[in-house]
């Protein structure tokens, strides 16, 4: 693996019967980068992301995530990544500290380490008052921050965020992005899908998927210049115009 690239994908294809959801995509993501993975609904984002997370096998193509092959080394990949999905997915009927403890335990952390990290997470999020509350009873914005912290409890090299800011207010979204930057500063690679185009501007680099193919990969600045657009929304609409799946 080339130095600096934590994700490297070549010719990745996923077919469901005759339908090609992901069609020969290739890209790489550098260490510590915030990589935006953009595309309309049905463009194949989620399918591609599932393969990268080791949830599903590619039909063809190869690639490495965190140094492990996406063909056959899925279980090893899973140890080195964190994941937070668009649906909020902590256990609502467990308390805040219990959720942290559960996922710490699942990633095989030692009891002492779990205790330390629990304190650290609660401290840094300022959730002391909610430590013993059921997750179902705390506000949505806090849940998301907590879920993000928990996704990084085992200090993964990459965190996959699947539309993490769906359905929250702009203020909470801004704070959430602050957390993403902090994580990135610590050297964690962030792979984020979103369809808020203003968020795309916050990414170091973005890829845009249309109908299962990647039509552009570059930094938002370069893309805007290339398509002579004032913002990413225009870039995206220009590229997605030819879509047949829409």
């Amino acid at each position: 693996m080339e130095s600096g690239h934590i994700i490297e994908i070549r010719g990745l294809t996923k077919k469901f019967g005759t339908f090609t959801a992901v069609d020969h995509i290739s890209f790489e993501v550098g260490k510590g980068e915030i990589f935006g993975f953009l595309g309309a609904n049905g463009a194949g984002k989620t399918t591609a992301m599932k393969i990268l997370c080791g949830l599903s096998k590619p039909t063809s193509g190869e690639g490495k995530v965190a140094g492990f092959s996406i063909n056959g080394e899925q279980e090893k990949i899973k140890r080195h990544i964190g994941y937070m999905s668009q649906k909020f997915s902590l256990y609502a009927d467990l308390k805040v500290w219990e959720n942290i403890r559960l996922f710490g335990g699942i990633y095989g952390l030692k009891r002492k380490v779990i205790a330390e990290r629990t304190d650290a997470i609660i401290q840094s999020l300022g959730m002391q008052d909610w430590k013993d509350s059921l997750v179902g009873s705390i506000p949505q914005g806090w849940k998301q921050k907590l879920a993000f912290s928990i996704a990084m409890i085992h200090e993964p090299q990459i965190v996959f965020l699947d539309e993490p800011t769906g359905g929250v207010d702009p203020e909470t979204r801004r704070k959430f992005w602050e957390m993403i930057y902090e994580a990135s500063d610590r050297g964690i690679t962030i792979f984020v899908t979103t369809h808020y185009m203003d968020e795309a501007e916050y990414c170091d680099r973005v890829s845009i998927m249309v109908d299962g193919q990647i039509v552009a990969v570059d930094s938002p600045k370069v893309l805007k210049e290339k398509y002579a657009a004032e913002n990413m929304d225009v870039v995206f609409r220009t590229l997605a115009r030819g879509s047949i799946r829409q």
Binding site: C53, G54, L55, S56, K57, E75, K76, K78, R79, I81, Y83, M84, S85, K87, F88, S89, L90, Y91, A92, D93, L94, E98, R101, L102, F103, G104, G105, I106, Y107, G108, L134, F160
Partner: protein, 367 residues
């Protein structure tokens, strides 16, 4: 070591659930205390209407004998057959006993019996049992009336009956092991299925899938609390049956636990299959309901397998409940040993293996 955290999670969620723990206490109680009374095939309290055209001492005695048998409830003595039929039409009467005016004369000379029975047979088995009781009463009445004269020449075979295992022919004790079977199947098969589907719907299962944890560990940890519950229910049902009704297990309780263990393997597979093939709780529940109904009806729990037509009997061999219910009844009621009902163990084992493999295969396919 991971499984400790998962188990902790499942148990916490279990006890935090607003309904489940309460249900667990009430379920065995209801099963053993109420259901044996409700789930009974005994026919009692048959509403009887009498049209007594004889109005004699003998007819009075006959009616008295029928009422005293304990199966009947005398609704009224109607004056006309039309009135009696009307009572049957409005569901007030299940059986009509008509006594002709020449009852005493006929009894004395004994040509034919001038007594007629009419029963409502919309519910066929109930009707025929009612008719049976009634004609038994009448026959024994006639026999008693004639006992002096009727010792005719010829051979006389005296038949007595005796019933093993259940001297007083108590139907409730027959249902106790069967109710345990139903409770265990529901709790170890369908509740975990609903639980898994619930995590699917909430999206939490996806979160678990991206962790390095093995799916088999995850599922196993989900099943274990229900298994604990199953054994708890088995024990408490046995205990309640003993305290309240005085029923005890004729065989070894250990054998009951062994069969329950075997059955749990089957229901685990079944639960997994249901959760694999359903995307939401509604679907899971429908499948559960559907299978549970089919399984129960052709398990021999309520109606004997031997009474089914051949094709239905053949299907019962694929029904895990058949083996489990059979074994539980044999051990509990007759005291059969494990080796005396080895075929049930084999049946359960084979179905368990088949279901588990199918469940695992269909699980893999989903990716």
């Amino acid at each position: 070591m991971v499984w400790i955290y998962l188990l902790e999670k499942e148990f916490k969620q279990f006890f935090r659930d607003p309904g489940l723990p309460k249900m667990l206490i009430s379920f065995p109680l209801m099963m053993v205390l109420v259901f044996p009374f409700a789930v009974s095939m005994e026919v009692r309290n048959i509403n009887l209407v009498v049209v007594d055209n004889s109005c004699s001492v003998t007819s009075e005695r006959l009616i008295d004998k029928c009422v005293k048998s304990g199966y009947f409830r005398l609704v009224e003595k109607s004056s006309t057959p039309e009135r009696a039929q009307y009572l049957m039409d409005i569901n007030k009467a299940d059986a009509i006993l008509t006594i002709s005016s020449d009852l005493e004369k006929q009894l004395a000379f004994g040509e034919s019996l001038p007594v007629g029975i009419k029963v409502n047979t919309i519910n066929g088995s109930k009707g025929s049992i009612a008719a049976g009781y009634l004609s038994n009463c009448i026959s024994s009445f006639v026999a008693a009336e004639n006992s002096g004269e009727r010792l005719s020449a010829g051979n006389h075979i005296e038949v007595s009956t005796k019933f093993y295992y259940n001297k007083y022919m108590d139907y409730k004790v027959f249902m106790v092991p069967a109710l345990i079977v139903i409770a265990i199947t529901m709790i170890t098969g369908f509740f975990p299925a609903l639980n898994i589907v619930n995590e699917k719907e909430k999206g939490t299962i996806e979160q678990i899938n991206v962790t390095p944890i093995r799916r088999s560990t995850f599922i196993l940890c989900k099943l274990i609390p229900y298994w604990a519950v199953a054994f708890f229910i088995l024990s408490s049902c046995l205990f309640i049956a003993w305290i309240v009704f005085g029923y005890t297990c004729a065989g070894s309780i250990f054998t009951l636990f062994v069969f329950t263990g075997l059955h749990i393997m089957v229901t685990a597979g079944l639960g997994l299959l249901i959760s694999n093939y359903s995307d939401n709780a509604q679907q899971a529940m429908f499948m559960t309901w559907f299978f549970m109904m089919v399984f129960m009806l052709i398990s021999g729990i309520f109606t004997p397998i031997a009474s089914m037509p051949a094709w239905a009997q053949a299907i019962t061999y694929l029904n895990p409940l058949r083996y489990y219910a059979d074994a539980m009844r044999f051990v509990y009621l007759k005291g059969s040993t494990f080796f005396e009902v080895w075929y049930d163990a084999l049946g359960l084992f084979l179905i368990g293996v088949a279901m588990m493999s199918w469940a695992i295969l269909s699980y893999r396919k989903q990716e």
